[in-house]
Every structure is written in C-alpha cells, then in structure tokens.
Symmetry: D2
Subunit: 166 residues, 4 copies
DNA sequence: TTTT
DNA sequence: TTTT
C-alpha cells in the first residue's frame, strides 16, 4: 500500500452466550464470542421507539485474552473490545464458496476489557490474576517525563523491556 | 443494553475499484466501495516477508459523504473512514439464507476523509465545495448541532469560546 | 491539510466528581467532567503490582449530551466517550501564558454513553427520554440492504431525513 | 476501576517540524513530534470559510516506532498514530506547578503509520526495513504474541488458520 | 442469542 | 510550526 493501512473494530456490547473455547494442538485456548450491539431511535413519522441489534462474531487468538474470556466472560457479560475485520472463505456442503466476516483479536492492537456481568455485579478479574494471563500482564503504563524534568531510566519498572520489541 | 453499546470500524486503505453509485428513488446517491487494507510481517521461522490483504465492503448512506465518494474517489484512492459493522441476510438463487457483512456509514459517528489518489496527486475536494455536499457542510466545530432546526447559534463564528470553560 | 485530518479521543473511565454544569446566555448547558482512566501492571523486577491513574478534563458542548451528563452522571459513574483533543491558551494571574488540554465533545464525531453508576445500579436514561435530549435523539440506526435484494425507500423510518444533512 | 478503562487517541495530521530525538542512557531513541490537525467549516451566518488548527505534542517511547519516526518522518510528513493521553506535572522556574498533556505511544495499543511526505512522494519505509525497527517487527498476524518468550508458534506462517474457527 |  |  502507498501508505500504511489501518483495520480496526471497536465494540461495546453484551455476550449472547457463554464463550466457546477451542484449543490448539499445544493446548492454547482460542475463544469465540457472540457479541450484541444495539441502538435505539424514535421513528420520526410515527414517533414509535425502534431498536436494532447487530450480532458480531468475535475470535480471540491472543492467548492471554482468550484465557480472560474463558475465565471471566459468560452469557450477558458486557465487554469492550478492539480487534480487526477479517473475512474467511469456506465451502458449504454443496461446494459453493461462502464468506464469513469476523472481528479478530490477534497480535498487537487488540484489547479486551470487562465492563460487568449480570448478577455477578461489576466484578473485574480478581486482583493479582489478570497479569497471569499472558499478554495483558505486560501492559506498559507510562513512559514518564519527556519535558522540562525529563529523566532517564525508562525501563526501571516498565513491563515491555526492549528485548521484547527487538 | 445494560449500558450503551458501541459499534465502530476505522479503516485506512485503498479502493480496489471506482466507487459504485446507486440512487434512491428521490435521486440521492448511495456509494459502495471496495477497500483493501494490508499488513506485512516476517515469518519467524523462514524469515520470509509475508503480506495479507483484507477486502472490505463499504456502503455510504450519508448523502454528503456519498457525493464526496462519487466525485473524488476512484480506483486506488486512499481513504480514512469510520462506520459501523452491519450484517445483512439475503437469499441466494436456491433460496438459501446468506449473510453479508459490511461497513456502513450512516447517521452520526461516521466519517470519510481522502488521503490521496494515485496520479491525481493528493488533491482534496476543491476549496469551497465540500461544504456543498451535505452533512459535512453542517459540521459545527462548536456549540450548535443539537437538532433538526440547526439554526442560529450565538457562536457560529466563535468556535471554541474560552469564557465557557473557565 | 494535504489530506483530511482526524483528531479523536476515546475514553472509558469513571467520573471523579459530579459533572459541573455551566450555561450559555440562552440557557443551554455545557458540562465539564473529570474522568479517570487507570491501568495496572506488574513490575518486572520486583513483581509488585502497580497502578497509574490518568485524569482527563472533558467538556461537552453538544446540548443533548450535556443534558444527559447533567441528568444521569454523577461521581463514580462509568462512561464511554468520544471527542477531540483541544488545547486552550489562557493567562494566569501574573499574566503568563498557560495552556490547558481538554477532551471536547462538539459537533459531529462525538459520543457519550453511560456504562453504569455506583449504587444506582446500571440504570441508563429512562426509556422514552434520551430522545428528548437533543442530538442523540436523531441517531440513525441503519440503512438497510444494499446487496442482491437492494430495495429503495431508505427514508421510511430513518431518523436523519435528507433535509437534515442538506 | 470497576471495569477496565480505555485511554486512546487517534490522530491523522502533519508534522510541523522534524522529529526531535532524545536518547535513553543506553542509547534507545525517544521521538517527540508536533502534529497538526485541522478542520474547516463555513460560518453559518456570514458564509465565510473558517479553519482551526490544533497542535498536538506526541512522544514515542516504543523503540521501533521511534526509529521509524527518526528515519522516515520530517517536517510536513502526514501520519496516522494511536496512543494515549497523559498529563505530566512539572515546575516552572518560579516553582509553580505546571501541567503538560501529551499523546504518548508506549506499550501495546500504539501505532504509527506514514501517510506520505511532501516532495518525498508517498514513499513508505523501504521494503525489508520496517521489520528491522523493533516492535513492529514482532507483529504476529495470528497466534503468537502472548509473552516475552515469543517463541515457537505452530502457525507462524499460517496467519489465519481457518480450521480453528470452524 | 445479549442488554435496557 | 503542518497541510489545503
């Protein structure tokens, strides 16, 4: 491409069912979610209230985020997520080409955040645990100062060491 | 929804073909775009460079943005766009249910911005015209924009009145 | 700009205090929020859990959204919001130039969504009312079909009539 | 926070000056950018065309992205970037507290993409090089990316394995 | 199939 | 201080 490209999806919605977990041959989880987003409006002519719900298929390949999904999400959970659009081609029983578009969380530029579950209150992953679930543990918080009082030693307590990115 | 929901797609990519323009019965344009995004990476094992291109179907219902697409976009144009995910159900010739997922620009929370065209240099819509193409004309950098009447704002020409923010 | 520009901020966080409401001369509300976002990580060396909280100043000029803030937000409320970055210049008592950067919700491309309040359960604006609060009332839901079975009459029940955008 | 929080800034704009590069004690670059975004509108009363430009201070701590900035960005370059808002406190000469808000690229959820430079055509980083500049090299379009070890993925070169998604 |  |  002439210039870098961007492919980003941001959703806030609720799960229509418990996550489905699959596993790779070496046991890492992959989570599939069905997420509903909805919007309401009032018909300008009749004044009736209307609602439209959109259903999204979400696939989480990032191991740490798939584990969070497995452990903390359930039917009805509210989530914030960032991923990218991907369309897969497959063949139906009659051999015809079919296409399915999914929101994929994979590699960088992905995110999954719990916004609460029905019944379960708004309980996030218990303190001490999310960092044990892979990538999210490594979220770097800040880089400190860059202005007048700029000071060095950026990696003192910064999760993503350079070797990570090298 | 327990809490409001969000359904947002952000793409930067290039058009794979000229926009297709359809029209409503009363003549307003609806633009369909095919937009490619791509990412490259290096195979960790072989070290080979790899690329994956994703194609997105985009439908622009916002009149002003569809006119911009009609007039300024062509095969190869680079665009930034914001819309939402929608999946439509339809029947194929054999009567089977089929689903197509598109990025839809409709209502608020949408955006379309030209990032340059091949050959045509990086020429944006000519000065003086974009505002004539519908919604974008109505962008009120401050105040305003609260309802159909749109009229009369104190601060039409005082975009960001500091006295309000103390 | 050679190419259109984009200036977008997306926050999910909690209010550190009740909204402050100011009013324009003609009585329209402007809401100021203090929103906290936080992130946690584990120190790679010591293993200690760390947290960093960022505070954001948010100003809502969109009348409908300011009314929602006034009526439904309070200290502790969780919100999703989309706005843009703006830096204001002002003079302190000694006459020196000072700068303040805020997240401004103004014109198009803004959004404010409640994600729940403490104590108050996760009660959103009561049914029937949000549409009475200005711009959000006009959120258009969808545009219908564009593919194989494309059918006309897009405006039948679509809030944003063309006159709105023209 | 009750629920995870999000702090995201997305900008498309132009550099007002060449990047400023600082270095940590161990030689890693940190890039500071001044990025302009602008918007135009027509005064609803006078019909005059108006423009407002916003200037953003951007700090890039991610080593690979800072190197890209150092090598490929210059005054006038157009960029897409994703980072987060951070406000630093510092003391001026008179000892007074001052605050500066910046867009920080640090850790995950960051991005920097070139959209073209004046004169320089729309030339992106030369093929073969971007992967040599740190983090971006590590983008794993699928699987992978779960921790510092990074090693051995079944699917290193099968970016989007369909058999996993049924 | 969620949520309000 | 960019860009158009």
């Amino acid at each position: 491409m002439m210039a870098g490209s961007v492919n980003k999806v941001i959703l806030i919605g609720h799960l229509g069912a418990d996550p489905e977990i699959r596993r790779t041959q070496d046991g890492r989880p992959i989570a599939n979610l069905r997420v509903a987003t909805s919007e309401t409006w009032r018909d300008k002519v009749t004044g009736d209230r209307k609602e439209r719900t959109e259903w999204h298929s979400v696939v989480i390949f990032v191991e740490g985020l798939a584990k969070v999904a497995e452990q903390y999400l359930k039917k009805g959970s509210a989530v914030y997520l960032e991923g990218q659009l991907q369309t897969r081609k497959w063949q139906d029983q009659s051999g015809q080409d079919r296409y399915t578009t999914e929101v994929v969380l994979n590699g960088f530029h992905c995110n999954l955040t719990l916004l609460g579950s029905p019944g379960g209150g708004n309980r996030p992953p218990p303190a001490g645990s999310p960092e044990d679930y892979g990538r999210e543990s490594s979220r770097t918080p800040s880089g400190g100062a860059t202005g007048p009082s700029f000071s060095s030693d950026l990696d003192d307590d910064i999760p993503f060491a350079p070797e990570w990115r090298g």
